[in-house]
Point group: C2
Chain length 403, copies 2
């Protein structure tokens, strides 16, 4: 009834395929390898109990009042300490902005940069929530394929040349360099450096989305884009959704102070401020030094789960010529490439009805609708037992499709 009233952006907005698919998952007999939820068994509920009690006791009047749009001071100071410790990175307090988790970061960055028709370069595939945020502001998305070293940076320069000639405005290049969503791939140091040099030469920003960086199960992290690039070239998004819990929606942006200043102005109109209460709780958790030991625990547990899924894939899916995947060094996902003639979209109803399993169709992550033969598999949420059983069922589903 509002079709003639909705804005152009609203008319073209699509519901998140993930969130729609996951509606099926409420049936208890379904094993979900969809979603990107952390394991709730690992939520540090006791710590939250204790910290929350203490925040309310000592600081209740402030924690329940409006806070500055620019975010909780203590939280920002704790984040700065942590960047120094973990990344050896010096961040100034005016270069950081707490957000209602990193999805709001994607929205605010889009809001201050994208005019309808502007181009954003994204991975093919990439995180669906990024695509939704950019689309909502009328961006035109241009996809760059990935391989096992992350985004094919070698393909970007030619694109940029063509776009420049056509006088198209490219606003930023969106990357998830560590354990990318959905592929699990990590971008090599060499490619990071190359992409920065291209971004500088073509005067394009890099938007680094980094929700999984601390969840590494083997090897070592290459430096962040933000650390490698000259000031002002990179803006980076982070969240505690995977390292602590998503339910408080605490994330943060780091960027040049002039950009942060504009983001704060945009945030005033978006929500005045993120919850003071949850920011105060997370700040206190950080101040207690609890996060490092907690992440160690997560890493052990998720490494087991990843290994379990890998073993199950090798056992149950490996005998199909053409199906392949890469072992992710961290993060939450495997990325399964089926033989080209298979269609994961079309398989989905069968997976639900006949096999009682759910996954996310790979096409959802492709801005051009390609990737029909791919799917994303999550190993952080299901138990070891359900991972094994889920992949076994997936194997039997795929087996029936083999030509």
């Amino acid at each position: 009834m509002y079709e003639d009233k909705f804005s152009i952006r609203a008319q073209t907005m699509k519901k998140s395929v993930i969130r729609e698919l996951l509606r099926y998952v409420t049936r208890p007999e379904i094993i979900s390898l969809g979603g990107g939820m952390p394991d709730p068994a690992l939520f540090p509920i006791d710590v939250v109990q204790d910290v929350t009690r203490s925040v309310l006791e000592k600081n209740g009047k402030r924690a329940l009042q409006y806070g500055p749009t620019g975010g909780d001071e203590k939280l920002k100071k704790e984040l700065i300490k942590r960047f120094k410790k973990i990344e050896d990175l010096d961040i100034n307090i005016n270069e950081i902005l707490p957000t209602t988790a990193s999805q709001q970061g994607l929205d605010l960055v889009s809001k201050i940069f994208i005019d309808p028709g502007d181009i954003v370069i994204v991975g093919l595939p990439t995180y669906l929530g990024g695509l939704s945020a950019f689309n909502a502001y009328g961006a035109k998305l241009m996809g760059i394929p990935l391989d096992t070293d992350g985004m094919r940076v070698d393909l970007i320069e030619d694109k940029l040349k063509v776009l420049r000639r056509g006088q198209k405005r490219v606003k930023f290049i969106y990357v998830i360099p560590d354990f990318q969503n959905p592929t699990g791939m990590t971008m090599s140091l060499e490619r990071r450096k190359k992409l920065i040099s291209i971004a500088e030469r073509y005067d394009v920003l890099i938007l680094e989305d980094s929700p999984y960086r601390e969840l590494r199960y083997e090897g070592t992290n290459p430096p962040m884009f933000f650390s490698l690039a000259p000031k002002g070239v990179v803006v980076s998004l982070f969240t505690f959704s995977k390292t602590l819990f998503p339910g408080m929606r605490v994330g943060y942006i780091i960027g040049h102070k002039e950009m942060i200043d504009k983001l704060i102005t945009a945030k005033q109109g978006a929500d005045l401020c993120s919850p003071t209460f949850t920011q105060a709780i997370v700040a206190e958790i950080l101040a207690r030094g609890f996060l490092d030991e907690h992440i160690e625990k997560l890493v052990v547990r998720y490494r087991d789960k990843r290994d379990c899924m890998l073993a199950a894939l090798e056992r149950h899916v490996d005998d199909f010529s053409g199906a392949y995947w890469t072992k992710p060094e961290g993060g939450l996902f495997f990325w399964l490439n089926l033989p080209k003639y298979m269609d994961a979209d079309k398989l989905f109803p069968k997976a639900i009805e006949k096999k009682n399993i759910a996954y996310i169709v790979g096409s959802a992550f492709h801005c051009d609708g390609s990737g029909k033969n791919t799917m994303r598999l999550n190993f952080s949420y299901p138990t070891l037992e359900l991972i094994g059983e889920g992949i076994k069922r997936l194997g039997s589903l795929v087996k029936e499709e083999v030509k």
Copy 2:
């Protein structure tokens, strides 16, 4: 350094005058009559302690996990019960959407309705955060003056006729019918009915923003726009920021289910979901039936504060010919009209430097920059003592300006 990169909307975005002015207020010797903060002495910290403990104990894994974009089921059910009880209004579960307080409601409604150049009709003056939200999506604002019965509805129809002839698209009429921010005025029932009939005739939506409705200190509320109008004509925004506390940022939208559905899609890109944790806490507070007795307490306390400010205004400011105000029947604000030749913007530095008081300049609430001789005075936050002393100082400030 990003000037050539920012989107058009970002280039025209202005920092909230309120939030900028309130930076001055950190000096402890300043009495602030600015802001719109609730009295933190009234925050029910003990209840929050108890409820939070219980939510984490019984439901921690869920309260810390991602939740549906459409919001917490229990919260929605409690809100529905409350609408029935307080407003005798039947709301369906698919007609309600919890938000990160009502500022996000303003942002989301703008996002799904406003294309650049679309017209939004607003009060002259009206809430600054509404103006920011509409501006961020490129709306053209058209102001309608208010009198003691609220928005001058009699002036709207002529405007709409002219706009229709000019083929301008008017997206909605923004009203704060109860104890309007900033004027404190309540729109009469007659005007509400008239505005609805105009909105229907011209096929324009009404956006009802209702943060203060339950804070009535005398008399009775006319029905909400949402109750009076046929389904689909009105979308209404609410928040617990004034009735419980702002620090959890819990608000909600009610509207036609097709609009709510589109708002959910927009919210997916904006923040995936509002904090599950704070929604669960507020839901449990409602379930315990605590809110009604709490609001009674607020009403008693804020009525005292209002009366205190009224008495102080009468005592210290009433002897200036031309300065006037109206006693608000609820809400948080007095609206002071100085003599026409005075300029509250220009007086502000003097107020800060010489008198150690802060207020919000009335011009900030006028989309056309008018209202230089007006100011908004808040009585919910300062203590009785500070209200008296603050208005005394304001009186002496104004006295020095009398010609």
